[in-house]
Symmetry: C2
Amino acid sequence: MKFLVIGGDAAGMSAASRAKRNMPDLEVTVLEMTEDVSYSACGMPYNIADSKREIDDLVVRAAKVFREKQDINLLTGHRVTFINPSGKTVSGRTRQGKTFEFSYDKLLIATGGRAVVPDLPGMDHPGIHVLKSLEDGRKIKAYIREKQVKKAVIIGMGYIGLEMCEALRELSVQVDMVKPGPVFLPWMAQELSESIQAELVSHDVGMHAGHAVERIEPDGNHIRVICTGLTLDADMVLLAMGISPSSELAENAGLRTSVGNSIAVDRTLKTSDENIYAAGDCADAYHMVTGRKTWIPLALRANRAGWAVADNVCGKSTELPGIAGTAVFKVFNKEVARTGLTIKEAETFSFDPASVTISSRSRAHAHPGSTTILVHMVGDRKTGRLLGVQMVGNEGVAHRINAAAVALHNRMTVEAFSQTDLAYAPPFGPVWDPLLTAANQLLKKMEN
Amino acid sequence: MKFLVIGGDAAGMSAASRAKRNMPDLEVTVLEMTEDVSYSACGMPYNIADSKREIDDLVVRAAKVFREKQDINLLTGHRVTFINPSGKTVSGRTRQGKTFEFSYDKLLIATGGRAVVPDLPGMDHPGIHVLKSLEDGRKIKAYIREKQVKKAVIIGMGYIGLEMCEALRELSVQVDMVKPGPVFLPWMAQELSESIQAELVSHDVGMHAGHAVERIEPDGNHIRVICTGLTLDADMVLLAMGISPSSELAENAGLRTSVGNSIAVDRTLKTSDENIYAAGDCADAYHMVTGRKTWIPLALRANRAGWAVADNVCGKSTELPGIAGTAVFKVFNKEVARTGLTIKEAETFSFDPASVTISSRSRAHAHPGSTTILVHMVGDRKTGRLLGVQMVGNEGVAHRINAAAVALHNRMTVEAFSQTDLAYAPPFGPVWDPLLTAANQLLKKMEN
């Protein structure tokens, strides 16, 4: 049997490797358009922050290992341009311009996502960067070094923008962040969002929400970012406006698409074509809280979906229950985490939400080094269910969110969650864990 | 209505305060035998470690506040010696030798636990200490200061012993730990236990498992701890051999007792007498994994049980689901956490357990500062259920355990747990959280 994979990143390589482990006789081919496979994309901002490290440190497994140790026919520099579902073939062109065609019994589309690039005048300036592929990371590192970048503008204020902001500040680069929307982190409860904004300001980051970028102009060796009511100068511009699913191949092949134009898959990761799977940032998923389709491109679900595809291709039927929308990131000294729905999302999905924001401590009463932890929690008045949690703090946030994520997977009520036996010792939190204090407060509010 | 509480620590004061909040007209009396109420007992080792801090820093709320702000009739120095359930009275004697008697409509026994003290020759030496009450903490701090303690022996290797070991080493006191049993932490998976033992040894702690203490002898200003095959010298000895429930009052009143001689209570915290509740370290609880009675004296469940008693006394019917046996402690640079059953406990309760121990990392591939996290996970082959987790690592352990605790509350299978959407970012862990890697490995083992 021939298993063909388009895309050699998290989902694609996870699927290829596991399929080979499941069935050593399976003929597995991976077509990757770049020269890089299996690298820690999320590690790029941290690598860029350290001028002594090479970007290639992020390669988890070399292409050679997949080829020689795992007997995977891994072809880099192979861009697929067409899928023919009825003929069960894919075709495309190599970097060197040669055409190719491969047939398959089972196909996995793991084409990932691509950075959103706005259609504005001046976008062809060589100082304008995105950060999605390892090649992007290479270019940014080289550009910072060669141009001795001292000043950067980041357009967008999402995870990548914030992580890159910290990375650039580590390199003593002056940073301005700009976005068209008026609210810094619109998905986040106000008090939490303000504490992160304060953290950025205290690290001398210029924060400019509410300014649409109109055009970008060269200015000698510099770049001028012209926004409504604001002009920013920089040596380098990073576009961090989010990503969109690379679903064109699938769409052109007639496959069904879904939320945000991602490829629609069922719980077995199968698309609308019997023999084609999709996984990773290009595909949708079920949300554990709403039970509905969602599109949240994150690394764990890409790896997990790759494994599930491999199992299904090899005849070991596997269904993925779905994702809770759990995410964590670091901005300077703040850990920021979320899982489940925001109150607005809860309203959209016809819940009757109530929410609280509480302030707790990262260590016990009178324990030295204690800092504030803010918790925002959302529950449903109708069913009593826990719907979502957001947290910000200097410590004890990143892993704490997982307790709430597991609660969401189990459709726990806020009351049941408030009764869970969470760990306590003075260096790690108050007797009543911040999550429990939030649940206790939310419960009171939901009862009234 | 008269609500009478015996014991003014975590469970007792939580109950008294909440009862007053629930029903401001309720007549609430608390009889506490010491002079201290509402302090962070678990914080004592950390306070002792810092000679600049006073032990009274650990007082969370002063007796005065309970009396004046909350209108609780709080009587310290009142030792109850007798409960008369048929007459609904309790009687006793004050520190000053005066007898007293109080009547009640509802009674809460929150007498806590007491440190186990072995019956050995020489136990009356003034250099021999236990650490249970704030008064014990005061004595230890004073003794270390006055006697300029340079060398200590800790008998017992439980949480308190380990935390006090770290505290004494912080004060540059040389420490030997000794226990009769041959295994350092018998409840812990061997590889994890060994990593903690190595941590202690690397901090120059003498570890002597397998030596029963036979007697203690004075030796000038020193103390000799005579064990089988070993004699240890010290300026001070700490008995850290665990605690036992203070259930004599209840037993003498004819109330039913349970595991480890704790007071038997139902899910509403009611004892075998209609009008008497028990909560905190003196009472038993239901275990979420086994569904059976257990006795695990920890702070959160004491506070929570106090609240539940207050609600039940005030007519707001509340049942506690039970505890998962979640605990965390710190030993030098190691965080140690557990929840649920050990493999031996699982066998005792007629599960068909399988277990794995895996080694993972605290940060992502190629992220600087990453250290080892060891995870031991137990599942049931018959039902597929997750039964227990233990973890050791330098970071990322204390709060990570809570995800597993919540899973136990929901009787999740290892497979369902392996599919949970846990947080990922490079500074905080690998893409596959150590808990997920353990679940994936355990699942494979359970399938074979």
